[in-house]
Symmetry: C2
Subunit: 645 residues, 2 copies
């Protein structure tokens, strides 16, 4: 031992624990409070996301009120109020005054909040920037008073300091109200708040959102559906992609005494047969005590998971937005643009690191969208719009890695965000969205997710491309058609006149020149009568509400070939539409399409096909997607070859 102090000992004196609240107090930008503009949006977002989750979890149609009171010196008071189930008195300090505390972290189900950080971060930011306390009012039962709690956060301990508690009368049957003062740039930030609330309301049509500005202006985003989204079910982890360390940890904590029961009871998609197959592949005795297994045995089990075909996770735990809402959202974004068309694509559920997820995308094309600017990207995760950190999001990476030149977009060097008159929307739903940071604005670049987004966009892009091709082909044929159907009869008429003969039928001639089956269509919308029609087809409870719309699609098929034609016609329909009257009698109606086995069509003859759809808004279905079968697609204008579902 020397007299001189060893450096390591000197350094050891500086080593200290850092409380998570202290950490985020110092690194508030990580939570999305990096500047006063963004801090406003983050605060609103955390409050609204929490409110939506709480309501949905409890089966309550959300009614959310947001108010910003603008004071001097860039300080705002923010009020967020919901009609959710309320929070019991004892939990209020934990939920609002403690970071990393919550109910949704340990549950595998789709929710907006997952981290147990968001709302307490708002309180932390408020305290840091204004030194004021947060005030939480909560009522949990109709016949009881509400409690008002004022609290601060002791950042050294990451615990709430309750300043005062009170009991008040509150009109609401139940609910929670948060009032905080924050440093925020309202002038610059309000646009983001408005955009966020609007997008949120579009993909959450069951929510009613009221936003009151400091000057008293009130914006109401109305509830347009009384149906809560399908409640997502809590599930167990799926064996695909689960980390070895997680598997070991689960085995250490299980109550099962046998490997087989451990696998069957703590994982999803592990039935008797799959469990047996996995154990066999891993060469492990099903009777093994999971608590006593070695690392090598877990490793074998972990490898066996990948080698055995295991059913995809149940998608009950996921609540995708759905084609119609995506289209509606995109339409809303583009109402002043009158785009040419909107396409969507939805992937089946997949898994990354044991967590199920699903990707939906949409492309709006044309109209007055600028042709020489990069396409605009819209991003959503679990129905929450993402407004910041686009550059760092997996969706951006996925889109950038596609060669969009193949689909008619401008993209120097075949990488990067393409330019063109389009908006691209991406939605990821998952039981665990892998955000790049606690501010939850960008999704991490995880290969499985990137791949699914790419596949979805490729599918969507192909539709765009096929639409454009179809349009070009149809336009060319239309030209020929116009020429023939207008000029030939004119010639026939004039010749007959001159020769003083009756006008000859030239159908055969036209047919000979055209040599195609011509399909064209028209879509109309009609207000549904207040009382549903008597048709049994409309008995579905999600059918047209009072004042809803009926979409009427009319398809004209003309045989301009010189031989009789007999073929099948398919019309693809939105999954959430309810089918009304269909003529002629269809051969099949599924969730996805209507199929007709058309009668033999003689040359120069035509047939009218029509169908009605309910349960959609005006404009939700604005383009027929038609396919033909049992006929050479090269002879048909206006429909593509049916490739199966």
């Amino acid at each position: 031992m020397t007299e001189v102090e060893v450096i390591a000992h000197k350094l050891a004196k500086k080593q200290k624990e850092i409380s998570v609240a202290e950490f985020f107090e110092r690194n508030k930008h990580i939570l999305g409070f990096g500047n006063p503009t963004r801090a406003l949006l983050t605060s609103v977002k955390e409050g609204v996301d929490n409110a939506l989750d709480a309501c949905e979890e409890s089966g309550i149609l959300p009614d959310i009120y947001i108010e910003v009171r603008n004071h001097e010196d860039g300080e705002c008071t923010l009020i967020i109020e919901d009609n959710g189930p309320g929070i019991i008195k004892k939990q209020i300090p934990h939920i609002f005054g403690r970071l990393l505390y919550g109910s949704r972290f340990h549950a595998i189900l789709q929710s907006r909040g997952q981290q147990g950080i968001g709302i307490s971060a708002v309180v932390l930011y408020s305290q840091l920037t204004t030194g004021k306390h947060a005030k939480i009012t909560s009522k949990i039962q109709e016949d009881r008073p509400a409690t008002v709690t004022e609290l601060a956060i002791d950042t050294n301990k990451n615990r709430a300091e309750v300043i005062s508690r009170d009991i008040v009368h509150w009109e609401k049957p139940s609910g929670t109200r948060l009032e905080v003062s924050i440093v925020a740039d309202y002038k610059r930030g309000k646009r983001f708040v408005y955009d966020y609330l609007q997008s949120t309301s579009i993909v959450n049509p069951h929510a009613q959102i009221t936003f009151k500005e400091p000057d008293g202006t009130q914006h109401l985003f109305e509830r347009i559906s009384e149906a809560l989204p399908t409640k997502s079910i809590e599930i167990k982890p799926h064996p695909y992609g689960i980390e070895l360390g997680t598997l070991i940890k689960m085995a250490k904590m299980t109550k099962s005494r046998k490997l087989s029961s451990f696998l069957k009871s703590e994982f999803s998609s592990m039935g008797e047969r799959t469990t047996n197959a996995v154990c066999e592949k891993a060469q492990l005795d099903k009777e093994l005590d999971p608590k006593k297994m070695y690392r090598e045995q877990f490793l074998a089990l972990h490898k066996a998971f990948k080698k055995v075909k295991i059913m995809a996770p149940s998608t009950d735990c996921l609540s995708p937005i759905g084609e119609t809402l995506i289209k509606r959202s995109l339409k809303h974004e583009t109402q002043e643009i009158s785009p040419e068309f909107i396409y969507t694509a939805s992937r089946p559920a997949s898994v990354y690191s044991g967590s199920p997820f699903q990707i939906e995308v949409g492309i709006v094309y044309g109209g007055s969208l600028p042709k020489d600017k990069p396409v605009k990207l819209l991003r959503f995760a679990n129905r929450v719009p993402l407004l910041y950190q686009q550059g760092d999001c997996v969706s951006t990476a996925a889109i950038s890695s596609i060669d969009w030149r193949r689909y008619g977009f401008d993209q120097p060097s075949g990488r990067g965000i393409p330019s063109g008159p389009a908006i691209f929307l991406t939605h990821m739903s998952s039981t665990l969205i892998p955000f790049t940071s606690e501010s939850k604005e960008a999704i991490a670049d995880i290969p499985e997710i990137e791949n699914e987004i790419k596949l979805a966009f490729r599918e969507c892009a192909r539709k765009v491309q096929s639409h454009i091709h179809k349009e070009i082909k149809r336009a060319k044929t239309r030209e020929k058609f116009d020429l023939i159907t207008k000029i030939l009869p004119e010639i026939a008429r004039k010749s007959a006149d001159m020769l003083d003969k009756t006008v000859p039928s030239i159908d055969a001639v036209i047919t000979k020149i055209m040599d195609v089956v011509w399909i064209e269509d028209l879509i109309e919308y009609e207000k549904a009568s207040s009382k549903p029609a008597q048709s049994t087809l409309f008995e579905d409870p999600s059918g047209p509400q009072d004042g809803g719309w009926i979409t009427k699609s009319n398809v004209l098929v003309v045989n301009y070939k010189n031989t009789p034609q007999k073929f099948n016609l398919y019309a693809v329909i939105p999954e959430d539409a309810v089918v009304g009257t269909v003529t002629p009698k269809p051969a099949k109606i599924t969730n996805h399409y209507i199929k007709w086995n058309l009668e033999t069509l003689e040359p120069a003859n035509k047939i009218d096909v029509s169908f009605e759809l309910a349960g959609l808004d005006k404009g939700d279905f604005d383009e027929n997607d038609l396919y033909i079968e049992n006929i050479n697609a090269a002879y048909v204008i206006g429909a593509d070859k049916w490739e199966g579902e």
Copy 2:
């Protein structure tokens, strides 16, 4: 009370604390472990950054050894070893087995690690993906044995679980060695590791880094300077930009009994006079007990901070890379490109949220860099290269917001990353780098920082632009010059021949046609002799090392005007260069420039100016930056008007 359970009570049962280790176990992508390629780099980076910090803190020249052993199935063993001060036995479980624990979080000084998360995150990732324990060897004193600790992390508690402890003999005088097994994609990841180590070595020339690949290949990044970077000093927070909440918290915890002593002892740049001014502006009694102040008083104090001119924070706490190292780094990046020139710009220290920071930037231009591709961005924070999340970094935002078309770059719509044959480097040094997430790859978009980066790049871009202009002007004059100095004498000689007369002096004619002062220069490098020259100018201890280089700059000034000229010449020199022989005798030498008051130069006369620089590598100084004073700059080719320092 009803029989039915209130929803809020049901929900309360699910509310739980989340340990920070659990949080990151679930969200490993936030820490930079989102995919196996990136996980490799993140692991190496956390280890190397930690090792560099530990060595520098203890005044030890870092000698770091990294080894990757590639096993099957994408599992690697990673070894990171340093010659730092070691870690005492008791602290090892905390430092490696507990997140949010460290020595640098609470200190305001520039260091690579600040979060107390990095290295324990590597251990966490290792455990999660391979289920193996981490092995840490540490020796704190030459005459004592080393300890070997094997540990795991109990993620439910965020505490280390020590598996075994042992004592071994280790050759090193002191040091730390970490051995972990991780799931990583070595094949894809090694390029990033190599890039990171190379860039690290360039901006940390005092470090020796050895990297051993799985196949035994060994890369040595040699130490090229024996001088440790100036040790950054721990400072107190600066009043500018400090959050109100932080101020209140500091006042609650202070030992000072008076407001004045609180301000003077716990803030930087608060002397007697500034303290008085602040108290007066805030209308607060200096004798107030800071512990008993009200929020409104703090608010007044907080506002007063902004209204009083307070000296910028001391930059002792910052350790910028410096112009020379930046140039060297950029040169290294571009060695196969032979760029036309490299410019750098360095901003004075500034403050955001009470933390001092400094921005340095550099631009490489020309050579074989592609003209039609976006410029390449290189980013550093506290001498650590940032390789991921470029899209989300404040430097990208700052660069994108400049209209680069003004500086000759291609940039459709005047926003976004410009295209052109250039590389842009940004370095931020700060006592607290506001990273967007715990993975420390992107800096948050904080207005003060964005602004400084913009200012630095604008300054640098002006240099680029002026260089290009100067080159064009010089090229034009050179053409004229060549014509005159070669063709006129030829004509004179031929005419004299023909007339059989002696060749006339045509200097006057040339002078009349040229009508400029012509300045041209040449830079040469010479190996310094092993023993420093006897000149007293070389006595500086940081002078040329054995085998160093002497940079010799020769400047030729010719008066091609038809009147005598008398003016001053300035040569700007790198701050870290040591000036050797200078002729003629200079009027002034500072850290930044050499000034000559040149003697009157008669028409057609010339003067040779030269100077030597030591302490630089060959090529560090490769372009003279010359200015003139007391002469109309329009008459001078090869130097600009001196605008003061």
